[in-house]
């Protein structure tokens, strides 16, 4: 048999095509990878690993819950305790939407070495719900009628405080004085003077104090810190961060329970130091809408954004704060603003510079919020060399006029509209120059925060850290220093909005610059400062 040239062409003609396609695929992939690694190597960013804490051994920590409302229930779930009502609700939701894995996630959550032993809630329905759900034959949940009774009982090692803001400091201080460990919701305090008093109490106490800023556990934030410290963004001159909500729940118009009455609610205890007004269900369930009990956007939501950034930048308390806004979207009797803009100035702060020394210094933190629009505006850190979008995932884009990346931009190894770094705690590797696809998945929230392949709730991690510090010592990530900075900054924003003036902080003396004739605490607590002041002047 003899093969002609024609035979060879017909038989082997496919092989050169095969080789060509193989070569093209291999070289382009290898080159892309090399370019990505070149950028990654230059950036040298270390993606954060899940936090590890020493095991929580020994006798279970005996925990008392003070305030078993919406947040109190969530915090209990993080501790491993869910009410029967919630489990049933989640079962129903799962039937409607098979994607709802809340119950499954809860069941799979690691067990923390805790016993919830008592509850203190001044609304009978809530206290009873905790008792009915959490009591077991060998651990009957005890109801305490006052927080003092719980703290002094000797039966609780630690308390979780999820009450209206005006109760945070008195309860925390009482617990700390008795060396009972404290996990308190944000904002840590309701007034300026309380903030100092709580700091003193925490310093003097042997107990562990933690503020409920659970996002400090979010892995992308610790990676963001590394990114900023390595000078990736250059000098950050502006941060924009936002709240956008457009629903009743987001505007704090929570459900009013049908069984609420003066018989089922200890109204005097709810009021505490607040102005003594007659029983009011609206005030009780929707307390965030009044300065007497809450602190509106500045205390409830600005604190999240401020602390998120403070945990990345460690910028501390602003030198000055100016705020403006009003009640524009929910004119329903509330006295806290529902549209709020806060500019915090940090004139001496710098994240480093790639330009001549002394050219760049100072930063503005700009918080913008509305409860009348739900468009998702991301948090962005704007630096001379790059911009970073910060959320559960994070993305870094080079700036077209960057000094640091000028050569790479010139060589078109970097392009301003293409991310140079993207971090996603769920992906197995950091992804420089992400594809449109992975960008899409990230935005869509399909990649959850994983720890060893398990989706984890950051509140759980935050409480685990607190419980570990109780048993093993060590620092909590949001302790009294961080809580103090958060509270003072939030109160400065509230004061500025109420007074329509710039509020200044003196770092050396750690005090607010006084304003003649103004008592800051009085202003913070006032229902409408301008009106009250005018009335006082008339009188």
């Amino acid at each position: 048999m003899k093969w002609t040239r024609r035979d060879l062409l017909k038989g082997l003609g496919g092989l050169p095509i095969l080789g060509a396609v193989w070569w093209a695929g291999a070289t382009s992939t290898v080159n892309n990878r090399r370019e990505r690694y070149e950028i990654l190597e230059q950036l040298n960013i270390q993606p954060s690993l899940p936090p590890t804490v020493p095991g929580i051994e020994g006798e279970p920590t005996r925990v008392g819950i003070i305030g078993f409302g919406i947040r109190g229930e969530q915090l209990s779930r993080a501790l491993g305790y869910a009410t029967e009502e919630w489990k049933e609700e989640m079962r129903l939701e799962k039937e409607e939407d098979p994607n709802n894995s809340a119950l499954e996630d809860f069941m799979n959550q690691d067990k923390l070495n805790v016993n919830i032993v008592g509850v203190c809630d001044i609304f009978d329905v809530r206290a009873e719900r905790a008792i009915d759900s959490f009591s077991t034959p060998d651990n009957r949940i005890k109801r305490y009628t006052t927080y003092k009774e719980m703290i002094h009982s000797g039966d609780v090692d630690a308390v979780v405080i999820a009450t209206p803001d005006h109760w945070h400091a008195p309860m925390s201080i009482e617990a700390l004085k008795n060396n009972v460990h404290v996990y308190v919701e944000k904002p840590m305090t309701h007034t300026i003077s309380e903030t100092y008093a709580l700091r003193d109490a925490a310093h003097q106490s042997k107990a562990v104090f933690s503020v409920g800023h659970q996002h400090r556990q979010t892995l992308s934030f610790s990676t963001a810190r590394d990114i900023v410290e390595k000078g990736t963004l250059g000098h950050v001159s502006l941060i924009q961060t936002n709240t956008n909500r457009n629903d009743d729940n987001g505007a704090w118009n929570y459900d009013i329970h049908e069984k609420a009455s003066p018989q089922t609610i200890d109204w005097d205890q709810f009021l505490g130091s607040a102005p003594q007004v007659p029983f009011n269900k609206n005030h009780f369930f929707r307390w965030r809408k009044w300065w007497a009990y809450g602190s509106g956007l500045s205390g409830d939501l600005l604190t999240h954004d401020y602390d998120r950034l403070n945990c990345v930048l460690n910028m501390g308390i602003p030198t000055s704060v100016m705020a403006s806004g009003g009640i524009y979207t929910h004119n329903d009797g509330r006295n806290v603003p529902d549209v709020l803009q806060v500019n915090m100035e940090f004139p001496n702060y710098s994240t480093g510079s790639s330009q001549p020394k002394g050219k760049e210094k100072g930063m503005t933190f700009c918080y913008s919020a509305t409860l009348g629009n739900g468009f998702n505006r991301p948090t962005i850190l704007m630096g001379h060399d790059a911009s970073m979008e910060l959320g559960n995932n994070l993305t870094v884009w080079p700036d077209a006029a960057s000094t640091r990346y000028a050569d790479m931009l010139e060589a078109e190894k970097m392009k301003p509209h293409i991310p140079i770094y993207q971090y996603n705690p769920a992906a197995n590797v950091p992804d420089a120059i992400s594809s449109a696809t992975s960008q899409y998945f990230a935005d869509k929230g399909l990649m959850w925060t994983y720890i060893d392949g398990v989706r984890v709730d950051s509140t759980f991690l935050h409480m685990r850290e607190w419980l570990s510090a109780i048993k093993n010592g060590g620092k909590v990530s949001c302790g009294i220093k961080e809580g103090f900075e958060e509270a003072i900054s939030a109160h400065m924003a509230g004061l500025s909005w109420k007074l329509g003036r710039k509020i200044e902080w003196d770092e050396a003396s750690e005090t607010l610059a006084p304003i003649d004739g103004i008592d800051f605490d009085e202003v913070l607590l006032a229902s409408d400062w301008q009106v009250e002041q005018a009335m006082a002047e008339e009188a």
């Binding site: 035979d7 396609v21 990878r33 696809t437």
Partner: protein, 160 residues
């Protein structure tokens, strides 16, 4: 005579079709092979349609590595067999299997939001079309016209 000429043209066209499909598969396989960071996790995790639970179970940590490797090997296999014209019917079957999975993971059903598509599709999408082409290649092998199978065929003819 006319029919014979047309038959030759059809065969030649199917040869081209076979090479192009093989090209497409091979390139996808090679790109994945040279990028160890590649994973089908996102594609599977975002699966839609009636078989979503099945695709979701494939994302489990213990399984995903195998899924990725099998996918890559299958892609290379289809690419090599279709381009070389050797065992092309087996390659076509594997191709049909892969494309069925791709179609079912992200079916173009009107009530589903289409993820990562560059066009607009109603029931029919490119995966489905390519799948049917693989069916054609299965029933109409052309490796003996252009491909390694040509040699075995020639040998048989010479013997007669």
């Amino acid at each position: 005579m006319t029919n014979e000429i047309n038959g030759k043209k059809v065969s030649a066209t199917i040869v081209v079709l076979r090479i192009l499909i093989g090209w497409h598969f091979l390139y996808e396989g090679v790109v994945k092979m040279y990028n160890p960071e590649w994973t089908s996790f996102g594609y599977l995790a975002s699966a839609q349609g009636p078989l979503k639970p099945i695709f979701t179970t494939l994302t489990a940590e213990a399984v995903i590595g195998w899924v990725d490797t099998l996918n890559m090997v299958a892609l290379l296999l289809v690419g090599i067999t279709l381009i070389s014209g050797f065992l092309e019917r087996m390659g076509s079957l594997v191709g049909i299997g892969l494309l069925s999975l791709y179609y079912l993971a992200h079916p173009s059903l009107p009530w589903l939001q289409q993820l990562n598509v560059e066009g607009n599709y109603w029931l029919v999408n490119k995966n489905l079309i390519e799948l049917v082409v693989c069916v054609l290649l299965y029933y109409y092998p052309t490796g003996h016209i252009f491909g390694l199978t040509y040699f075995t065929r020639k040998k048989e003819l010479t013997k007669i």
